[in-house]
């Protein structure tokens, strides 16, 4: 993966940048309008974060409580150490139930474990039923946003895709496009043997899961097939049912600027009577995949407070320019830049914590007040301390910072060097700056020289 190369390719894609600018601006404005209606937004953020902090401090206990209550209600709970184990569990359930077609509602956790590839490799056809996910799947791509998977696509591109893949008349009428997708998907729902969903929140005291969505596809996914499998990261658990109130206030407003999503599905166990509707089997897969490692330090632990609203992506000046694919990770944007290196380890994704100007817009919009810049800085320090990178650029950087620290600790040496640079008109070799920007020259006289020359005296100029 090369973040740098992929980012430059994204910057050269005019359609992509147009789509991103339009969508991130729109979601940003909707969010602002939606939170303005909430009397005590700051208080809600603090309450939500406190609930998350409390949960994460006693995560083992709340997970066991959740699992016990879910099982009591009829669900089967599975614990997955990593992505491979989670895929094996879900594929195993599908095989045992004789499933050939699997319908899926939107779930970043299933993207994280690469479930679709794992199912396809076992001869099972996964079908994405969220419109955005469906578009991305038809195009053979991956989501580029955690809430709006096809944010990188223009209406025209989607029309061309549907014309090619679904054989519909080319049209950029949104209603017609959505109708074509619905028609194709209804057939798949009818034939599906298994439904896979994600989880927004899991309530420990009741064993309930909550799924938020706008299209009704998650409700179909979790109720129509004979078997439902819900995959959740272990950080999704919250202690009490009443805690949902504050998260329901925060999540839809932060994500899409809605007061509430069109559907909220609360699922507790399986159907009580054979005549009831709903699946016969309900499986919940609890996914660790690197998360418990993050619990160790308070700086990294806050990453697990994330409720995947996507507000930080829309607010991030870097994401707004390059979109999600350039990050080369399932989770893009600011939260992806802190989450991915912690889930996968630094090796593959050591560049990501540097993919930020540290402007702090992500921290401002985060509904659970994750200090993303602080986590980025923590990961940067880890990357440097690890010293994994031995390329010429990395060695030059190390040398530059060692010299910088040595000079800055010696004010007279610093003053003398700057005076030399000034006299000899030495310009630093900063091609990466000067290719696009003029470099401000050293002032003819530094402030400290002016100070010594008379400014130090009251009334001095």
């Amino acid at each position: 993966m090369s973040f740098d190369r992929d980012a430059r390719a994204a910057l050269a894609d005019g359609q992509l940048r147009g789509a991103l600018r339009h969508a991130t601006t729109l979601f940003g404005e909707r969010r602002r309008a939606a939170i303005a209606e909430v009397p005590d937004w700051e208080g809600a953020r603090d309450r939500a974060r406190a609930i998350k902090d409390e949960t994460l401090l006693h995560l083992d206990r709340y997970l066991e409580q959740f699992a016990a209550n879910a099982e009591r209600a009829g669900a089967q709970v599975h614990w997955a150490r990593d992505a491979a184990q989670a895929c094996d569990i879900i594929a195993g359930i599908a095989a045992r139930r004789g499933a050939r077609t699997v319908v899926k509602s939107k779930s970043m956790a299933t993207e994280e474990i690469r479930l679709n590839a794992a199912l396809a490799a076992r001869g099972i056809a996964p079908v994405e039923t969220d419109l955005g996910e469906y578009i991305v799947q038809l195009a053979g791509e991956e989501p580029s946003h955690i809430v709006v998977p096809a944010i990188h696509k223009t209406k025209g591109q989607i029309a061309a895709l549907f014309a090619e893949k679904l054989g519909m008349e080319p049209s950029d009428d949104v209603a017609k496009l959505a109708a074509a997708a619905r028609q194709a998907l209804r057939r798949r729902f009818a034939e599906a043997d298994l439904g896979v969903s994600g989880v927004n929140f899991a309530v420990a005291e009741t064993g309930t899961i909550l799924i938020l969505e706008n299209e009704g596809n998650a409700r179909l996914t979790t109720s129509l097939p004979r078997t439902h499998v819900a995959l959740m990261g272990i950080e999704k658990v919250i202690p009490r049912f009443a805690d949902l109130e504050v998260f329901l206030r925060l999540l839809p407003r932060s994500g899409t600027g809605q007061a509430l999503t069109a559907y909220q599905s609360l699922l507790t166990g399986t159907k009580r009577h054979p005549a009831d509707e709903g699946p016969e089997e309900f499986h919940i897969v609890l996914l660790d995949n690197g998360r418990s490692r993050m619990l160790a330090s308070p700086v990294t632990r806050q990453t697990l407070a994330c409720i995947r609203c996507g507000a930080c992506l829309n607010a991030c000046p870097v994401y707004r320019q390059i979109g999600g694919h350039a990050y080369g990770s399932v989770y893009p944007g600011p939260i992806g830049a802190v989450l991915t290196p912690q889930l996968l380890g630094m090796g593959e994704s050591a560049e990501l914590p540097y993919a930020s100007s540290l402007c702090g817009a992500c921290r401002d919009v985060c509904p659970v007040k994750i200090d993303i810049p602080a986590v980025l800085l923590h990961l940067r320090a880890q990357a440097v301390a690890r010293g994994g990178s031995t390329g010429t650029r990395a060695l030059l950087e190390r040398l530059a910072f060692a010299s910088y620290a040595a000079v800055m600790a010696r004010p007279r040496l610093f003053g003398w060097l700057m005076a030399c640079a000034r006299r000899l008109h030495i310009v630093p070799p900063l091609g990466a700056w000067t290719k696009w920007r003029d470099l401000r020259p050293l002032a003819p006289r530094s402030f400290r020289d002016e100070w010594r020359a008379g400014l130090r005296h009251e009334g001095g100029r």
Binding site: L11, P317, I322, P411, D438, F447
Partner: protein
């Protein structure tokens, strides 16, 4: 009131007019200004790039330097470097150093916040002819919550017409980000160009900000694009009596 100037290495070497302006304005407001020539860089470039031990060594130096002064306040013409001083505490595990870092941070103020909130002034007796717009530097805005202070000061400068930047607006990052600006120059400039486009649309004579770093970034692009709009530090405008 006695003020110790935290000049910052950028203002010292590249934007001395900002530092001189800060001294002049502070004196005009009746402050006695001192400057300890031992100060160099606060360590932010190292901290932001992940070089913690290097940042830590420079933090210790600067804490000792400011501890040696009994000035009532430490004032800086930079929101970013002031914010760095406020971050010093988290560089240390040792409770002693943490307390020392906190004590210095509590005395340290960004220039506009010091003038408005500590001295209680809006009008610093300046005059400057021109239509200006303000760029909120990220660390001043988001770390120190400075938003109204510079605007209040600029509105009271005689001859100044202050206009807000059209979208994406004054609060959006200029794309500088320290080493980010040279690690990923194409992204940095893509972000910057939205800012510079907005400045062009605002029809102003100058863009004003409180940080030399953003001003280098914005000014460097404005001049490369052949724009006549100047990049000015807040202290330069506040010092002006022309």
């Amino acid at each position: 009131m006695r003020v110790s100037l935290f000049v910052t290495c950028l203002a010292d070497q590249l934007w001395p007019a900002a530092a001189r302006g800060a001294v002049q304005v502070l004196r005009r407001m009746g402050c006695a200004v001192e400057f300890d020539e031992r100060q160099t860089c606060c360590g932010q470039p190292a901290f932001n790039t992940g070089y913690r031990p290097e940042a830590c060594a420079l933090a210790r130096r600067l804490i000792e330097i400011f501890e040696s002064s009994d000035a009532d306040a430490i004032v800086s013409p930079s929101g970013s470097c002031t914010a760095m001083l406020h971050h010093y505490e988290q560089l240390f595990e040792d409770p002693g150093w943490r307390a020392r870092a906190r004590a210095v941070a509590e005395r340290t103020h960004e220039l506009s916040a010091f003038l408005v909130n500590r001295l209680g002034v809006d009008d610093v007796g300046a005059s400057f002819r021109g239509r200006l717009t303000w760029h909120d530097a990220c660390h001043g805005l988001r770390d120190l919550k400075i938003k109204d202070e510079p605007r209040r000061l600029l509105r009271r400068v005689r001859g100044v017409e202050l206009v807000e930047l059209p979208p994406p607006g004054a609060e959006t990052c200029c794309g500088f980000g320290g080493t980010f600006s040279v690690k990923y120059p194409e992204i940095s400039v893509a972000i910057l160009d939205e800012k510079v486009d907005a400045i062009d649309r605002a029809g102003v004579d100058a863009v004003v900000s409180g940080d030399a770093s953003c001003l280098m970034q914005i000014g460097g692009r404005l001049s490369r694009r052949g724009s006549a709009v100047r990049a000015l530090h807040l202290a330069e405008v506040l010092a002006s009596t022309a």
